[in-house]
């Protein structure tokens, strides 16, 4: 219990530090939101509009400390403010437009990639120098080392344009009404297939290698030899003895990856015109939309911290040594 409380205390402190940095960093950038709006117009906006814009956004001249305290209070009460780039929508609404799709897209990609990668890693280590071990890691690392943007473009070009198997973008077709129906779900899956597949391809190698390498180390350890000597079934040795211990570093990695899911996958979203957080974040930065930036960073921060907390809990279950020391 003290272990959990100690971790919680640590996460609260990290959350506060992250919030403070979130607040300060955007304000160190040159310019302000009204200036940034001009960028999109390239002179099509009358100079008089600048004053109107400043009035609209109520750009405050209050001292930084006051702004900081107000912003902390707002975060605590769940009020994320009003977005500048998507004025006058509240930040929570803006984030809401993409969040579901981001979780769906990046979440399923991480889940699929982790599961397949880890299993393949285990297989590769168990049957060392088998064909999985020989071919797969190098092939996947090869694929993963392409710039992701390029990989996604090629996939879109080959499977979307040339072969026409997949739609060219968006999360679902324009003429399908979102509802919990078979037609809609199939359509969503069809639209997600290509982006998810490219993301899985790009990340599979990492999971595979990490799992393979730790499993090989674990397979050489005394307790595995003991388990084998006792005559336990190979499946039991592989899953209960080797995999469970080898999983620890991968689980840490998974926690990080899950946390960053909410940050969106910018490149995927841009190539496949998929709605999501990544694009919003870029828009926020481009328009110097402090409230939106802070809102998205807040969501990412909380997600990373929450995922890490879950990893801590998973460790309790996976690793008896921590369980022992915690009680």
């Amino acid at each position: 219990m003290t272990y959990i409380l100690r971790r919680l205390g640590f996460y609260l402190l990290s959350a506060w530090v992250a919030l403070t940095i979130n607040f300060l960093l955007p304000r160190l950038m040159p310019g302000d939101p009204a200036t940034a709006l001009f960028a999109r117009f390239r002179g099509q906006l009358a100079p008089e509009a600048m004053q109107a814009l400043r009035e609209t956004f109520g750009l405050t001249q209050a001292p930084l400390l006051t702004q900081y305290l107000t912003s902390l209070r707002h975060v605590l009460t769940g009020d994320l403010g009003i977005s500048v780039a998507y004025f006058p929508s509240p930040v929570s609404t803006v984030i809401g437009t993409g969040l579901v799709w981001t979780v769906l897209l990046a979440g399923s990609a991480v889940a699929i990639s982790f599961t397949i990668g880890t299993l393949l890693g285990l297989v590769a280590a168990w049957w060392r120098r088998g064909w999985v071990d020989t071919w797969l890691p190098s092939a996947l690392v090869f694929l993963g080392s392409f710039p992701y943007f390029w990989l996604a473009m090629v996939a879109l070009f080959v499977f979307g344009f040339t072969l026409g198997w997949f739609p060219l973008g968006h999360a679902y077709a324009d003429d399908v009404v979102p509802a919990f129906s078979t037609a809609f779900v199939t359509d969503v899956v069809r639209h997600a297939a290509l982006p998810v597949a490219t993301m899985v391809l790009a990340t599979l190698g990492g999971w595979l290698l990490s799992m393979r390498n730790t499993t090989i180390a674990v397979l050489g350890s005394d307790y595995v030899n003991l388990a084998r000597a006792k005559g336990l079934s190979p499946a039991r040795v592989a899953l209960r003895y080797a995999a469970r211990n080898a999983l620890l570093p991968s689980v840490t990695g998974l926690g990080m990856a899950l946390g960053f899911v909410l940050g969106g996958s910018l490149l995927t979203e841009i190539v496949f015109s998929y709605p999501g957080q990544g694009y919003l974040l870029v828009q926020a930065v481009r328009n110097q939309d402090y409230p939106l930036m802070q809102g998205i960073f807040l969501v990412i921060t909380l997600a990373v911290l929450a995922a890490n907390f879950l990893v801590d809990l998973a460790y309790l279950w996976l690793d008896p040594r921590i369980r022992e020391s915690a009680t």
Partner: protein, 557 residues
């Protein structure tokens, strides 16, 4: 070894996986129903529902100004003429201190209530109460707006200011009965618009697509013939271009590189484009508060060192032409005087004369061929432009090469937009690319290029006139223009302004920007074209109502 040679499992597995998921996917996407025009103008990953025509133009969805709400008069920027719209007539009264507008009879709001002059007065008074809505700054010259009767409204001016008409004419009008109860019109999203325009009915609004149906009560009987507008969300220019090329979009305003090959050649009978040169003009601004750019000879020499033919070729795929010495784009054909433009030979590429002028200005070449000031310091400048605006960056590179050739060291320096804008506004630069400010008459254009009233001290952020040039001759002509309502005499004053600009070279014009417009005539006919130039073809031209002319002229096939 034989085992290794057997297969490439990764590749096979991936292809099998993709193929199985793709089973049942069809290649051809059914086209949208007949009469539904698919438009791509804004680049967004997902749509936010906002149809507020008064607040900052960026926040509201494109049709808000292009097809939902309407201005008093539409300005046709290709023909350079006003088209009466919600107002049918106007006249100046009381020695040009009062502008009287007559509103159109028989116009209904989309909810069935009649449109009257009271809505016009209400809209303008709303702008006064909420300065954040007054993005054209009309209350800088108005003192009072009131109705005379249901069809007449009087705008009283603080002083005689004829160009104020352009700003009043362009204002979108909102219904009093709807907006009088809105508590904060600045942050009001106006999700279900009540308006006079051709498209008012939100039929579908989802995060990736929305559709606007036609206004059943539109005042132009039988129009619009387009049934509905559909807007798919594309997050980037590349993606929007692909959608255009693959016929997912009927009308767009993107920059498309090599358009003949990329777009037209795919379907020569249907894919069309027309890029009239009616956008803002691009200038090389030289900071006239810093020596040697305070010397007109140096500015002209810099201008003569630029090979504009090459520049237009390299930076803009020949979509534009080199600017002439007046700097005016084709949006000012009615004002442009070609004999004055021809007298400005300093926009011609002429290295020998550039060298001669620089010598004459006392910037002689040293032994290494580099030009130096009188005190011996070599001339060395950075040309500022915005990172990622590739046309500007390429243009700046051509300019830098030209300057090097006449012995002035020059390099291109790119900044993020905000950082660039901050430096330019504060006057913290030697040379920078920049745009011009446009209006229906050359008044706005030249005011922000050379009026003393727009010169701010160095260090203070200035909205325009970044090069900080004030010309007494121009001041006089601009002031006379403010007082002059007679078109013939306005034309003479515009000539005077052009002559002053050509003589003093306050800034160095490079090229006029095209107005981007691509469209497919497979499903709709009636788009403006070079053969039928009835309006500006670009969906980007929305601030003065050009899009209304197009949207009401299109016919489904």
């Amino acid at each position: 070894m034989s085992r290794r040679a057997r297969s490439h499992p990764a590749a096979c597995a991936v292809i099998l996986l993709l193929a199985s998921v793709a089973a049942g996917c069809t290649r051809e996407k059914p086209p949208p129903p007949r009469g539904v025009l698919v438009v791509s103008q804004e680049q967004q990953a997902s749509w936010i529902r906002n149809f507020n025509p008064l607040t900052t133009a960026t926040a509201a969805r494109w049709p808000t100004l292009a097809g939902i709400y309407e201005p008093l008069l539409v300005f046709n920027s290709v023909r350079a003429e006003y088209v009466p719209w919600l107002a049918t007539a106007h006249e100046w009264r009381e020695a040009n201190r009062v502008l009287r507008m007559t509103t159109r009879d028989s116009v209904l709001w989309s909810d069935g209530r009649p449109f009257t002059a009271r809505d016009v007065a209400f809209t303008f008074n709303l702008l006064q109460r909420f300065p954040a809505l007054d993005r054209r700054g009309v209350w800088g010259f108005l003192s009072d707006v009131r109705t005379v009767d249901d069809r007449t409204v009087d705008f009283r001016f603080q002083r005689v200011f004829i160009p104020g008409f352009d700003e009043i004419a362009a204002q979108q009008i909102v219904p009093e009965h709807h907006w009088k109860d809105v508590e904060d019109p600045v942050s009001y999203p106006n999700e279900n618009p009540v308006a006079t325009g051709p498209f008012t009915e939100v039929r579908v609004f989802r995060n990736q697509v929305y559709e606007l149906g036609r206004n059943p009560r539109y005042w132009q009987r039988g129009l619009p013939r387009v049934e509905a507008l559909r807007f798919p969300a594309y997050p980037s220019n590349d993606r929007a271009t692909l959608a255009l090329v693959y016929d997912e979009v009927d009308w767009a305003g993107n920059f498309v590189p090599a358009i003949e090959r990329v777009y037209v050649r795919r379907q020569p009978e249907n894919h069309r484009y027309w890029f009239p040169l009616t956008g803002s003009s691009i200038f090389l601004y030289a900071n006239t508060t810093r020596a040697p750019f305070d010397d007109v000879r140096v500015r002209q020499a810099v201008s003569m060192s630029i090979d504009r033919d090459l520049l237009v070729d390299v930076a803009l795929y020949r979509y534009s032409r080199p600017a002439d010495a007046t700097g005016l784009s084709d949006a000012y054909v009615a004002w442009h005087d070609s004999s004055i433009a021809a007298s400005g030979d300093w926009v011609r590429f002429d290295v020998a004369r550039a060298n001669a002028l620089l010598d004459e200005a006392g910037l002689r070449r040293g032994e290494d061929g580099r030009r130096r000031r009188a005190d011996g310091t070599p001339l060395r400048y950075e040309i500022l432009c915005v990172a990622g605006w590739s046309d500007w960056v390429r243009a700046a590179q051509v300019i830098a090469r030209g300057l090097e050739a006449v012995g002035v060291r020059a390099s291109v320096r790119t900044y993020d937009f905000s950082a660039w804008f901050q430096r330019v506004q504060a006057g913290d630069f030697d040379l920078s690319l920049g745009w011009s400010f446009e209006g229906p008459t050359p008044y706005t254009f030249y005011r922000w290029l050379m009026a003393s009233s727009t010169v701010k001290p160095l260090g203070e952020a200035s909205m325009g006139n970044w090069h900080r040039y004030g010309s007494p001759a121009a001041d006089q002509a601009l002031h006379a223009f403010e007082l002059e309502a007679d078109p013939a005499r306005q034309k003479r004053l515009a000539d005077e302004l052009q002559r002053t600009f050509v003589k003093e070279a306050p800034a160095i014009p490079l090229y006029p920007n095209p107005s981007w417009a691509e469209y497919s005539v497979a499903r709709f006919s009636g788009f403006p074209s070079q053969e039928n130039p009835y309006a500006d073809p670009s969906p980007n031209k929305l601030d003065r109502g050009d899009c209304l002319l197009v949207l009401t002229a299109l016919t489904p096939r």
